[in-house]
């Protein structure tokens, strides 16, 4: 009973930790615009302040039932509605909520508005309404049509973007990359591959060297333990072994013992003469039933 309880408890802990690890803590507030006069419009063609959320996971994330709020005293201000397929954010992708105070316009319209010229705070709370997932303070100085965005999607510092050299990027990545920087860097700085070869071979050698040393140590410990066990079994002292008074078993001796044991255990010269007959149960299955693989003799049917 205790064992079952222990296993159940372990499974619960494992499941809970797995759920926590892969849960909605990966949701991030990624970019915010408080006063929107010429940036994106909503489905009704209107300009409103907006909040971009980013799924920093490498797996899809369902955000229905999390809470968006701009009020520290009301953590459950805007619950993201259930049952909308668009609340499932693909891996490393974004969604935009319009802070227009008109939730009757759809899932992505919050019931609060962001206030220009004032400090704004935005928080996301998990479905329990108390676990803070992410928050951001937007300074009152943020100008019209400027956004406040993370320098790297889902991480990094926040910075003001004016739409010039610093792009405003609702529903897309804050960092626009047209090449793979790593590869560009290797192509530029390590054109002949020598650097890669040195680094990679050092890593490969280190990994296998560590494994080698580790098993050298484990082998030594294991040999000592088996020697001690053997001494205990033979009732000899350590100094006798050191003096060489206890002979080591040679491979030939061990082989001879093993073969003798094999012959002994395999011997059939004495039988116990007890015969046991067990009933063999076979579960019926139409796939293996003989009924379907035998043809009836036509004559038998005819006589019936």
């Amino acid at each position: 009973m205790k064992r079952k309880l222990f296993i159940t408890a372990m499974l619960v802990v494992a499941a809970a930790s797995a759920a926590f690890a892969q849960g909605r803590k990966a949701l991030r507030i990624n970019e915010v615009m408080v006063q929107n006069e010429s940036s994106i419009v909503d489905d009704y063609g209107e300009h409103h302040g907006w909040i971009e959320l980013f799924n920093s996971n490498f797996a899809p994330l369902e955000i229905s039932s999390v809470y968006l709020t701009n009020d520290t005293t009301d953590k459950k201000k805007y619950p993201v509605p259930l049952g909308d397929v668009n609340t499932r954010i693909a891996k490393r992708q974004h969604v935009v909520f319009f802070a227009d105070g008109q939730p009757d316009k759809g899932t992505f319209h919050t019931n609060f508005v962001l206030e220009p010229g004032k400090d704004n705070w935005i928080g996301i709370y998990d479905a329990d309404g108390s676990t803070l997932i992410d928050e951001v303070f937007i300074p009152a100085s943020l100008a019209t049509d400027n956004s406040y965005a993370r320098t790297v999607d889902g991480a990094g510092e926040w910075a003001v973007r004016d739409g010039g050299a610093a792009y405003i990027t609702p529903s897309s990545a804050n960092v626009i990359r047209d090449t793979n920087n790593k590869i560009e860097e290797f192509a530029e700085r390590d054109a002949n591959g020598f650097g890669m070869t040195v680094m990679a071979m050092c890593i490969v050698f280190s990994a296998l060297l560590v494994l080698c040393l580790c098993f050298y140590g484990i082998g030594k410990i294991n040999s000592s333990i088996s020697r001690l066990n053997k001494m205990r079994a033979h009732g000899v002292e350590k100094h006798e072994v050191e003096k060489g008074e206890v002979a080591h078993d040679s491979g030939e001796e061990i082989a001879a013992i093993v073969m003798a044991l094999h012959d002994h255990l395999d011997a059939h010269d004495t039988e116990n003469t007890i015969l046991t007959i067990n009933k063999v149960k076979r579960a019926y299955s139409p796939w293996s039933s003989k009924i379907y693989s035998l043809r009836e003799v036509p004559g038998v049917n005819h006589r019936r």
Binding site: N192, M196, T197, A200, L208, L211, F215, G219, S226
Partner: protein
């Protein structure tokens, strides 16, 4: 329209769908390549388990058809049966399953008994990075060069796994090249082994390996996985599955699982992997100048890998005590073509001394090569992905 015209029109449409109407020279070239692979496998017994599925896959992938008809039959057409089967290659989940089977089949005792042999497995990975440098010199981009260079690891699943991540467009050529050279290991390696060793070195007798306890065999996959994956987490899919398979084998309480992983599962995945890799070599994708370069680089990688293993042993012998010298004929086994390259070490050793059996000694670097190439793949993935 008369009935005759109706029949004629339909027969004409049918003709346009046939392979005869859509055939190009490239298709026939690839069909010949497929037949050559099948011939090599059946008549010459070169890696038949791999070359028969790959060869037949090449035939399947190169039957010409009207790609504009929307029949959803081609391997690159989303939703086709072949495309669904190919997902294991393109998404890279067949190779870790093969590694699970390899782990469940492999006895690491030789390596555990003589851990210094692991370094030979590491040295042979020079083949990968030597080929990487040559590929860069030829003009490949670093990610493509990394994907091609992994052929030097002599490990088909690793090559497929890495190329699916770094250069999916070259995967067919890389996989076929890797498996072709693995099949040609008995032809490529012996001349190099003779070239780099003296007769005296070939006669070196190594001490028999000590017996390895059950506990050590159980600890090995656990510690091995943790150590190697902490160093190279990007190798986790391959190394994790390899060591997991080995734990199933060695722990003694999961014999059924180990048996399934090493037999039925490996066989199923090998069939699917070989066939779909073969089918992915459609002439339009495969017959390019890049493919020739890839085959050339693969050959180079194999030569460098085999040579560096042998030369490393010679170097290593300079610092080893006289009674612990290693026979350099086991150096070639550092590439992970298991157990083919270990068998070559043994055969060549017996050629020079009929009582000098090197097989168990060569199995050490051979399985270390599997670990080493997976670590190297993880390193390349970490740097270039």
């Amino acid at each position: 329209m008369s009935f005759g015209d109706f029949l004629l029109k339909n027969l004409q449409q049918f003709w346009e769908l046939t392979g005869f109407a859509n055939a190009e020279i490239g298709n026939f070239v690839m069909l010949a390549v497929g037949l050559f692979f099948i011939w090599l496998a059946i008549k010459k017994n070169f890696e038949p388990m791999l070359l028969v599925p790959i060869g037949f896959g090449i035939l399947i992938g190169n039957v010409p058809f009207n790609t504009g008809a929307g029949l959803e039959i081609g391997i690159y057409e989303e939703g086709s049966v072949l495309n669904i089967l190919y997902n294991g290659v393109s998404a890279g989940w067949y190779p870790p399953l093969i590694f699970l089977g390899i782990g469940a089949m492999t006895d690491f005792s030789a390596l555990i008994a003589n851990p210094k042999l692991m370094l030979i497995g590491a040295a042979a990975q020079f083949g990968i990075f030597g080929a990487y440098m040559v590929a860069l010199a030829i003009g490949f981009a670093p990610d493509q060069a990394g994907a091609i260079a992994i052929i030097g690891g002599a490990d088909g699943p690793t090559a497929i796994f890495l190329s699916s991540k770094l250069a999916p467009n070259l995967m067919g050529a890389i996989a076929v090249s890797a498996y072709s050279y693995m099949a040609l290991v008995p032809v490529i390696q012996p001349p190099l082994m003779r070239l780099f060793t003296t007769k005296k070195e070939r006669l070196i007798r190594m001490k028999p390996a000590r017996a390895v306890s059950q506990n050590e065999k159980i600890i090995f996959p656990i510690v091995g996985m943790l150590l190697t994956c902490f160093v190279v987490p990007s190798g986790l899919p391959l190394l994790g599955m390899l060591f997991f398979g080995n734990l199933l084998r060695e722990c003694g309480v999961t014999n059924r699982l180990a048996k399934t992983a090493s037999n039925a599962l490996t066989d199923i995945v090998t069939i699917l992997l070989g066939m779909t890799v073969g089918a992915s070599t459609q002439a339009s994708q495969f017959l390019t100048p890049q493919t020739i370069f890839i085959f050339f680089l693969g050959f180079m990688a194999f030569i460098i890998a085999s040579s560096s293993g042998v030369l490393f042993v010679k170097l290593f012998n300079l610092v080893l005590p006289k009674d612990k010298k290693i026979n350099p004929l086991i150096g070639n086994a550092g590439v992970s073509a298991v157990p083919m390259s270990a068998r070559i070490s043994n055969n060549l050793g017996l050629e020079y001394d009929p009582s000098n059996y090197l097989l168990m000694h060569a199995m050490g670097p051979n399985v270390a090569g599997v670990i080493g190439s997976a670590v190297a793949a993880g390193v390349l993935l970490g740097f270039l992905a």
